[in-house]
Amino acid sequence: MRKLLRILAALVLVGGVGFWLAAGANTGWTKNRVPKKFVDDVTGIEVERFEDKFVPGVDFLGGTAVGAVALAGLSFVFRGKKKELKT
């Protein structure tokens, strides 16, 4: 169980950081809508229209780290098998 939780903690951390990096390493807060630029040909006016898209931010990264630490910490609750001392 200890090992399983520690592997899970490592997976959560690596997966979270990987997802954050893959989504553009946004150093702001998490966004669930992103602006997309559009230019009007005649007037030259540029407008940003929002589209639904999840972009993880530093709060997501922090949450992932907290989750990984919690799982790793939980692993210490379970004791490993004591090795018998051979004399």
Binding site: V34, T43, V47, E48, F50
Partner: protein, 203 residues
């Protein structure tokens, strides 16, 4: 002689009609007109856009200083990248979109007008109203008069376009929007930029 006088009268009438001030309607059928806002605080920088823009501006290409009008932005159309943040922004704690559904700038006069070709730059003076507070402000504006370009934008309609661009700052504390509070997340200075096109259709 009568024919000559008649012709001169028609020419004079036509030229006076051409020189007459035109009313430009800023309700954009293409939904491109927009106002951007940005705050840059210690903990957070927020950028947003508003697209529900309406109002009219009276503009005379032969006399730009006489420009007058009112531009209105629907408070409910203010958008930010996070939907929860948008709810907060429009809640009674911040802009109170239900109680104050409009943000407006009522332009009374243009000062320091400089016209080069189709472009006019000036300082627009008028009353800016936000969050139930009205304040006299002067902001730099750039107007571009696009004669006969309406049909390119709205097929089937003949007329002219007037593009207005403005960029300026205001203080939210001046408009009683959480003055002195949450300054670590929302700066007191709010940067606003406006890019809008109005149309004057020929009947």
């Amino acid at each position: 002689m009568k024919k000559l006088i008649g012709s001169l009268f028609v020419i004079a009438l036509a030229s006076s009609a051409l020189a007459a001030p035109q009313v430009f309607d800023f309700k954009d059928p293409k939904g491109v007109n927009n106002a951007k806002f940005a705050t840059d605080a210690v903990l957070e920088s927020i950028n947003g856009t508003a697209t529900d823009i309406s109002g009219t501006v009276t503009f005379d290409a032969a006399n730009p200083p006489a420009t007058k009008g009112k531009i209105i932005v629907g408070t409910a159309s203010l958008n930010v990248p996070n939907s929860m943040m948008k709810q907060h922004l429009q809640s009674p704690t911040w802009l109170d979109a239900q109680k104050y559904p409009e943000i407006s700038f009522d332009v009374k006069e243009l000062k320091n007008v400089k016209t080069t070709g189709d472009e006019t730059s000036a300082d627009a003076s008028g009353t800016f109203s936000l969050h139930g507070v009205s304040k006299e402000m002067t902001v730099p504006v750039k107007l571009t008069y696009l004669k006969g370009k309406l049909s390119q934008r709205v097929p089937g309609k003949m007329g002219d376009l007037l593009v207005i661009r403005a960029k300026f700052e205001l203080k939210r504390s001046d408009f009683k929007i959480n003055a002195g509070q949450y300054t670590d997340k929302v700066s007191d200075e709010i940067e606003l930029s406006l890019a809008i096109a109005g149309m004057s259709a020929t009947p």
